[in-house]
Symmetry: C2
Subunit: 641 residues, 2 copies
C-alpha cells in the first residue's frame, strides 16, 4: 500500500508511547518535550525548539529543531528556505550531508519539513538585511519530510502574486498561510485578548455566554430559523444578545461582556456576512457618557503595539443633526474636509429661480461643498458619472438636482446657473464656501436632509475618484473615531403608516423628552450613540428603557406591536430591573479598518461569499430526507407555489 | 400617564446631556463619573462609588453612593438591607432624614435603590461577624428609587428557599440574583479568562473564530439544519470546529484555540444542552504527551484562587483496557475504591457450574468487587434494586447475571452460590478481593468487557446508595483528573455490518499499529485521549491523520463512507498539512464539577430544559408563513405523512 510507506516515513519522528499505569508517571519523554514544556513561548509542548522566522543573531551556536513549510530551494537543494508564520529562514545542507541533496531536490514547494541543525552567522557579505533572519543561516544536520505537498498548488503562497478572491476562498487554508492573513488573524486575536484583559481583569466585567438558539424576535425578518424536533416549532438565531444582556442586568450581573457570534440573513449583500462577531457590553447604573468613556479607554488600552494611530481620548462627539448637516451621513469620514455648507441665506433672491422655493421654508435648504483643485482631476464626464452615482441613493424619489460650478484658472464660473446668478450672490457664495480658482463647487437644494445625503454621497464619491487619480485624500494611517448621538428615537415608516424605532424598541428616550412621547413622539430624541471610525459605523449602543410601563407604552402605543411577544422581558423589567445601558462593537469591521482591508472577509478565517456560500465546502448543501423528516419540514418546490 | 410620572422620578438621577460639538470636548460630567473613570475596579464608569457587599472597615468615614436591590427592611424602614453581587450591607435612615421612612416602608423587596450616605462603624456589640460587611453600616443621607419592583415575586431570592427548577428557569433573571448563580457564572468567567491568559499570553496561541453555519457532516444526524435562501439547501450547525481547526493547521495557524459554541441535537436527553461550549485547541508538530502536558499545566494555572483542590501534575494515565478492567467504564471516578478484580483464575474448578464456561476462554472472565461494610447499609431489597439498575445498561442482551455474596459478622457467606463453592475456592476468592466480615461481594461473568460494564455501573450505584445513606464515599473537595488513552480506533457497528470510528474518522492510528490497518483494523489503537474528572469525561482529543492517502483509506476502505463529502479536507491534507493534534474540553461539565453542581444547567446563564425548550421565552415557537416561504420550506403535518 502506497500510503503505508509514506505514513511510516512520516510517523518515524513519533516515538512509541508506552502504556502507562495509573500509579506510574509518564515513563518516556523526549528531552525536547521536557525542556519545551517549560518554555513560555511559541514552541512549548512541541517538537520544535524555535520558530523558523524567530531566529536571530543571539541564537548563533545553538542546535535547533525547526518545522516549517518549504518556501523554495535553490542550487540543487543546497539551500532550502523554510517558512512559518514568523517568517523565513535559510537552511544549508552541509557538505557532509550531501546525501540529502537528491531528497531536497525532489521536494515540492509547501512540503512540510523538519530540520535539525545548528545556527551559524552568515558569511560576511552574504547577510540579507531585508530578512529578519538575514544575519544567520541553519546548517542542516538532519532533515525529515513530515508531509509532502502535491505539485502545482492552485496558487502560490508567496505574496507578490495576485490571486482571484474566489480562488482564495476555495482554498482558504492556502490563503491563510500568507503573511497578510497571518498578520490579520493574529492582530485580531491579540487585540481581543487585550480587550478582555481591560474588561475582565481591570474593570470586573463578567464574560457570560448567551444562547444562540432563541425565540423569534417580533418582526425579526433577518433572523435565520432552525427547525426543532417539536413539529412546527423553530428556534431563531438572534441578531444580537440584546434581550439576554438586558436580562443579565435584571439578574444582577451588573457588568457583562461577551465576544458574541451573531447572525443576520440579508440574502446577497456585499460586505455582510451571515454570521459576524460583536463585542457586546452592558452595564447597570450607568449613563451614556460612562459607556462612551469605557469604550474610549478600552480602544486606547487594547490598541496593537505595532500599529500607529492609537486614538487620543476622549473622542469627538457629533450630534446626528450636525453629522447630517456637515457630512450628509450619520457615519462621517472625518479624515478629509470637503464638508457641506448651508448656503441658503446667501441664495435669497439669488436670481436663480429653481432656488427660490427652498429659501423660504425652515424645512428646506440649499447646501454646497467644494472640491479643492477639482478642475485638475475631473473631466465633465467624470462629474456626470460622480453625480449619477450619488443620485442613485435617492433613486429620483425626491427629484433632487445637483448643480456643479467649475471655477476656471482665471476665476471664471462655468455652470448651468452662472448666467442667472447676481454678482453679489456669486461673491457671497464664494466667500461662504472659500471657493478658489480651479475648484469645483457642488450644490443641491431640497427638504432636510435628503439633499444633504446626496451631497454627502457625492463627497465620498469625489474622494474615491481623487484617490483613484493618486491624490491622497484619506490618510491611511489615521484612525478617526467619533461618537454620533442625539438621534431621533422614532422614524416615519417607509409606507407612511406610523413610526418605527430608529434603532430598536429598547432604547430609552432622553429624560427631558419624556413629555413629548405623548404629544410629539417623532420629536423625541433617544439615548443612542454610534461609534464611527473613518466613515464606518463600528459600534452602536444606548441607555435602555428599564421601566416596564414605559417599555409597554413604546411597544404598544407608539410602535403598534404586540407586547405579548416580549412578555418575558416586560415581566423582567417589573421585577427589579436596574437602569442600564450598553453597546456592541462590530469587531469584523473594526479589524478590517485596523488592518487596512477593503473587505471584512480579510479579517475572518473562513468567510462566506456575498451570497452566503462557503466556497471551500460548498455550504449550504442539500440534506437527506431523514433529516427533513426529523424536523417535520419539507422543501417547497416551485411547482407547488 | 402613569408611566411618565414613574419614569421622571426614575430618570431624575440622569443629568441632562448637552449637545457636544465635534471640536469641543465633553462639556458636562458629574464629579462621580470623572473620578470613577480612572478606578480600575467593579464600579468604574458608573454612578456608584462602591459595591454594597464590598464595604469594609477601611471604608469608615467615606461618603459613598451605592446602588443595589432591597433585600429587606425592618423597624419601619429605619434599617434597609441592600444587596448586590458582592453581598449585603446594612443602611440606616438617620434621624434627620426621617421623612424618608414612609418611602422606605412602601418599597417592595427587590426594588432597585440608590443610597447616598456615609460609612460608620457599627456601635459596639452590634457587629455581625457572619456578614463580611458586618463591622460597618451606612448612614443614609439621600435615597432614590431607581425602579420599584412588583409585589409578590414568583420566588424569593434569599437562598434558604428551595425553588422548583422549572420555576427558576421561567424566571431565570431572578434566579441569577442568587449567591449560588452569581458565584458560578463569575467563577466560570474568571477561569476562562485565566485559560486565555495561559494560552494566548504565555504560549502564543491564536484565538480564531470559526463559522457555525457550515456544510452538513456526512452522517451528522445530530446536527441542526438551517434552511438558506437557496432553495433546498441548508447550512448545518456543527458539533465542533473539528474540520476548521484542522484546516487552520494546514493554514499555518500552528497553535489555535477557541472558546467555541457547539451544537448537538439529541432530542430530549437529560444533562445535554442543544448548544454547549468547549475549549477547543489544536497544535501543529505535537505529540500526544505535548497536548496532555499543555492541558495539565493549563488547568493548574487557571484553577480558581478560592477553590481547594488545584490538581497536581502530571495527571495519572490509564489505558482504556485498564479502565475497563478496574472500573468497568472508560471514565472512572477514582475518588473511591471498590475497584473490580479479575477472579477468573481463582474460580477454575470452583464447583459452580455457571462459572465453568467463563474460565476456559481468553475472551471471557469473571470479575468481582467488594462493598466494604455493605451489610450495614444494604438490605436484600436494596441489593435487588441496585442490581436491576446496573443491569439496565445491558438490557438483558448479554444475559449477564450478578451474583452477590453477603458476608455476615461471623464470616458466614450468604449467597446463591455459597453451597456449591469449594472451601479453598472461597478462601482464594476472599483473599483476592480482601473480603471481610460485613462486606458484600458482587460477581459477574461474561465476555470482555460486557460484565465489567455492568459491575462498573453497579459500583457507581452502590456509591450513590451509600452516599444517600450518609456515608462519605466520594470526597466532594477532591478533583481527580486522569487521562484514559489507547482506545481502539474502530468498533464493530451495532448492526454488525462493519466498523465505525470509536471517536471520529480523523484520529490517527498509533504508528506501530499501521500495518494492522490492512490486516486487522479492529485491533488498531488510536492516538486518542480522554480527560476524565471525577467520573465525567470532560475532554477528548487525538493526534489527527495528516496524510491524505491514509485519510482516504480510512474513510473509503475501512469506514465505507463516501470520501467526496470530505473532498475539501482531503485536498487540504495533500497540500502541505503539518502533523497535528488537539483536544476539546467540555467547559459546561468542567464548571459543573468545579462548582459542585448536579447539573450543567447551574453553570449556564440561560440553559434549556431537557427537551430543548427555553422556559422563559417559550422557544422554540411557531414562525410566520413569510418566514417559511423565504426559506422554501413548509411544515410537514401529520396528515401528509
Amino acid at each position: 500500500m502506497k500510503f503505508v510507506r509514506v505514513f511510516i516515513h512520516t510517523a518515524a519522528i513519533m516515538p512509541l508511547r508506552k502504556l502507562l499505569s495509573i500509579r506510574g508517571m509518564v515513563s518516556q519523554r523526549t528531552c525536547m518535550q521536557l525542556g519545551n514544556r517549560l518554555l513560555h513561548n511559541n514552541v512549548s509542548y512541541t517538537n520544535r525548539t524555535q520558530t523558523c522566522g524567530g531566529l536571530r543573531e543571539t541564537d548563533i551556536g545553538k542546535t535547533v529543531q525547526l518545522c516549517g513549510w518549504l518556501q523554495y530551494h535553490r542550487m540543487g537543494g543546497l539551500f532550502l528556505i523554510l517558512r512559518d508564520w514568523q517568517g523565513l529562514v535559510q537552511c544549508i545542507v552541509s557538505q557532509e550531508k550531501e546525501s540529502l541533496l537528491p531528497l531536497v531536490r525532489d521536494l515540492n514547494y509547501e512540503t512540510v519539513v523538519e530540520v535539525h541543525g545548528k545556527v551559524h552567522a552568515r558569511p560576511a557579505g552574504q547577510e540579507n538585511k531585508n530578512l529578519e533572519t538575514g544575519m544567520i543561516e541553519v546548517h542542516v544536520e538532519d532533515l525529515k519530510i513530515l508531509n509532502q505537498s502535491i505539485q502545482g498548488l492552485p496558487f502560490d503562497i508567496r505574496e507578490f502574486h495576485d490571486v482571484k478572491e474566489s480562488l482564495r476562498m476555495e482554498y482558504r487554508y492556502l490563503d491563510l498561510r500568507t503573511k497578510r492573513m497571518q498578520r490579520n488573524l493574529r492582530l485580531r486575536s491579540n487585540m481581543i485578548m487585550k480587550m478582555r484583559e481591560f474588561l475582565c481583569n481591570k474593570h470586573g466585567f463578567v464574560d457570560v455566554e448567551t444562547p444562540t438558539l432563541f425565540r423569534r424576535t417580533p418582526g425579526g425578518a433577518k433572523e435565520f430559523i432552525v427547525p426543532s424536533r417539536h413539529p412546527g416549532k423553530f428556534y431563531s438565531l438572534p441578531q444580537s444578545p440584546q434581550q439576554f444582556k438586558q436580562l443579565l442586568m435584571v439578574g444582577g450581573i451588573d457588568r457583562y461582556f461577551q465576544v458574541a457570534k451573531c447572525y443576520r440573513d440579508e440574502g446577497a449583500k456585499p460586505e455582510r456576512q451571515p454570521e459576524f462577531t460583536q463585542l457586546d457590553i452592558e452595564m447597570s447604573f450607568v449613563e451614556m457618557e460612562g459607556i462612551q468613556f469605557l469604550i474610549e479607554d478600552l480602544l486606547h488600552f487594547s490598541w496593537p503595539e505595532d500599529l500607529e494611530g492609537r486614538p487620543e481620548t476622549p473622542f469627538p462627539r457629533l450630534t446626528y443633526q450636525e453629522a447630517m448637516r456637515q457630512y450628509g451621513i450619520d457615519k462621517p469620514d472625518t479624515r478629509f474636509d470637503m464638508t457641506l455648507t448651508d448656503v441658503t441665506k446667501h441664495l435669497l433672491d439669488s436670481g436663480v429661480q429653481q432656488f427660490d422655493r427652498f429659501t423660504s421654508s425652515a424645512e428646506s435648504s440649499i447646501v454646497a461643498f467644494r472640491v479643492p483643485k477639482g478642475m485638475d482631476h475631473m473631466s465633465l464626464n467624470d462629474i456626470q458619472t460622480l453625480k449619477e452615482a450619488a443620485l442613485k441613493i435617492d433613486d429620483g424619489k425626491n427629484k433632487i438636482n445637483i448643480i456643479d460650478v467649475r471655477v476656471g484658472q482665471n476665476g471664471e464660473w462655468k455652470s448651468s446657473i452662472s448666467k442667472y446668478l447676481k454678482p453679489d450672490t456669486r461673491e457671497k457664495l464664494a466667500a461662504a464656501t472659500q471657493l478658489q480658482s480651479g475648484d469645483i463647487l457642488f450644490l443641491a437644494a431640497g427638504q432636510r436632509f435628503k439633499h444633504n445625503e446626496i451631497l454627502g454621497r457625492l463627497r465620498l464619491e469625489c474622494a474615491n475618484h481623487l484617490q483613484a487619480k493618486g491624490i491622497q485624500v484619506r490618510d491611511k494611517t489615521k484612525f478617526n473615531f467619533l461618537w454620533v448621538q442625539d438621534f431621533p428615537l422614532f422614524l416615519p415608516k417607509e409606507d407612511g403608516s406610523g413610526l418605527e424605532s430608529a434603532h430598536h424598541p429598547f432604547t430609552a428616550p432622553r429624560p427631558d423628552d419624556i413629555d413629548l412621547l405623548n404629544t410629539h413622539p417623532e420629536k423625541v430624541q433617544g439615548q443612542h450613540y454610534d461609534l464611527v471610525l473613518n466613515g464606518n459605523e463600528i459600534g452602536g449602543g444606548s441607555i435602555r428603557i428599564h421601566n416596564a410601563d414605559l417599555q409597554r407604552y413604546v411597544l404598544q402605543d407608539i410602535l403598534k406591536e404586540d407586547p405579548s411577544e416580549l412578555k418575558h422581558l416586560l415581566e423582567a423589567l417589573s421585577m427589579g430591573c436596574p437602569p442600564h445601558g450598553g453597546i456592541a462593537l462590530g469587531l469584523d469591521r473594526l479589524f478590517a479598518c485596523l488592518c487596512n482591508c477593503d473587505t471584512i472577509r480579510d479579517v475572518i478565517a473562513f468567510p462566506k461569499s456575498s451570497d452566503g456560500k462557503d466556497l471551500m465546502s460548498q455550504a449550504p448543501s442539500p440534506v437527506s430526507k431523514a433529516d427533513l423528516e426529523r424536523y417535520h419540514v419539507e422543501i417547497k418546490t416551485e411547482s407547488k407555489k
